[in-house]
Amino acid sequence: MATTAHNNLNAKLVLLGDMGAGKSSLVLRFVKGQFLEFQESTIGAAFFSQTVSVNNSTVKFEIWDTAGQERYHSLAPMYYRGAAAAIIVYDITSTDSFARAKKWVQELQKQGNPNLVMALAGNKADMEDKRNVTAEEARAYADENGLFFIETSAKTAINVNDIFYEIARRLPRAQPAQTTAGMVLVDRQGEGSRAATCCA
């Protein structure tokens, strides 16, 4: 869940998606501006943080980049618990990865945080000649499910920052504490995860 301190927001963000869809590459591009043709496979999850500023305020993302292999999905609740945002990544050259993305959307919908900002990223957009998932199909699915959709390329950097900035803009801002039962708004920076209890 996102927490505010004056104009600053701490937001836990989780990346989910099939193995090799490019989750780690998206994060590496966003956090360090780098791209590696062969990114080490992620085991468990990796943690990063990055701050962006939108509309006179800053959002500090605490990013959990998770492992993609099916059997690792049993660990996922630990990473998406208390998240304010999720990016579900698929590879536009793989229909399997798109099917897997839909499953993630379902799982997140069922975990019951109505304020979760969800984005669908069709990654590897630079590989147009190998495309197997059309942008139309993905957009239609995203619209139906209330997700924000964008095609990205971690390799060429296209739309990578945009997706994080758009999420930052969409995050719910300081809500009065009484509207969400049990929610604790902390007035100190650096306590983002504490306020996560409300939707754990």
Partner: protein, 392 residues
Amino acid sequence: MHGTQSKRDLAFEYQAQIPILRPSIHARRANITVKFQDIYGFTVEGNVDDVNVLNEVREKVRQQGRVWWALEASKGANWYLETHVSSTLKSSLKFTALVNQITLKRLIRKGIPPNLRPKVWFAMSGAAKKKSTVPESYYNDLTTAVVDKVTPATKQIDHDLPRTFPGHPWLDTPEGHAALRRVLVGYSFRDSDVGYCQGLNYVAALLLLVMKTEEDAFWMLAVLLENVLVSDCYTNNLSGCHVEQRVFKDLLAKKCPRIAAHLEELEFDVSLVCTEWFLCLFSKSLPSETTLRVWDVLFYEGAKVLFHTALAIFKMKEEELLMANHVGDVINIIQRTTHHLFDPDELLTVAFDKIGFMTTTTISKQRKKQEPAVMAELDQRLRRLNPNGDEK
């Protein structure tokens, strides 16, 4: 032997090429970061102090080598195999075996010299015994039989080959990829319940670098998964790994109560950082020689060593961790610590002298206790996702 020998020798030569750096006060002040290759060919980034530590570690490795050679000279080449105290032995032999056993345990905690590792690991882990129960041609037959087979596991393995320690001078070559592929694909057919689990790529890669032959690396992987580690660590929903995580949390609360209480207050789940340790056996977190020193003890004393090591990492940074007031800070402290643990003794001294005694029996009991809770939790998630039970 698939040509691994020449590459491995090459890896050891790097050691000789690395200049002994003597930092001046100015260099220390500038806090220069240097990139260099360690004895297993991994690129390491560190400051001048780290380089100094590595130089000292190399010297200690050489000294330790002399201790092992002296023991071989006085007790015979395979003395470490004669540590089994059986009741049929004559009492004088029993005494020798017992002495050897005590010497060996202490010696292994101080480290097996890199050039003796293949031989000592293979003998004491049970890999040699495992291999001896099947026909001589088992590994060749297996790899030949599965060479053209395509399964979900082989596809995932192919996907991960270039993503396993990319940039390593041997692993990241066609030859290295081919060797790693044969080991992982071979194992995926040996145990179809495990098939291929991400994480094993790193473990098998490191085994290939250490063992003299690809076949021995395969048997080390087999003994590790089938005898050393808790079962189901790598199978379908990683249930064994979930169990280990719960046992670890209990141990942390018992052995490092202040840290456990503080992290709980921060709502920091230690599994967030420990899962990778237990699945990759620290190979992605610790410097190579430090990882292998943990493995030296792991193969001799069993899976409890992973708990000792993980607890030690937290214990070493107790004061710093208690000051952290945010999840991100905790992770940064832990990651900075693990990546810079170039001195294996610094870690292992805490792991075995400061954590206190733990027996395999008590840990087994704790695992038994946690199993039902893990199964219930995993089942609950599946029910939530598939309320009609229409999918597995």
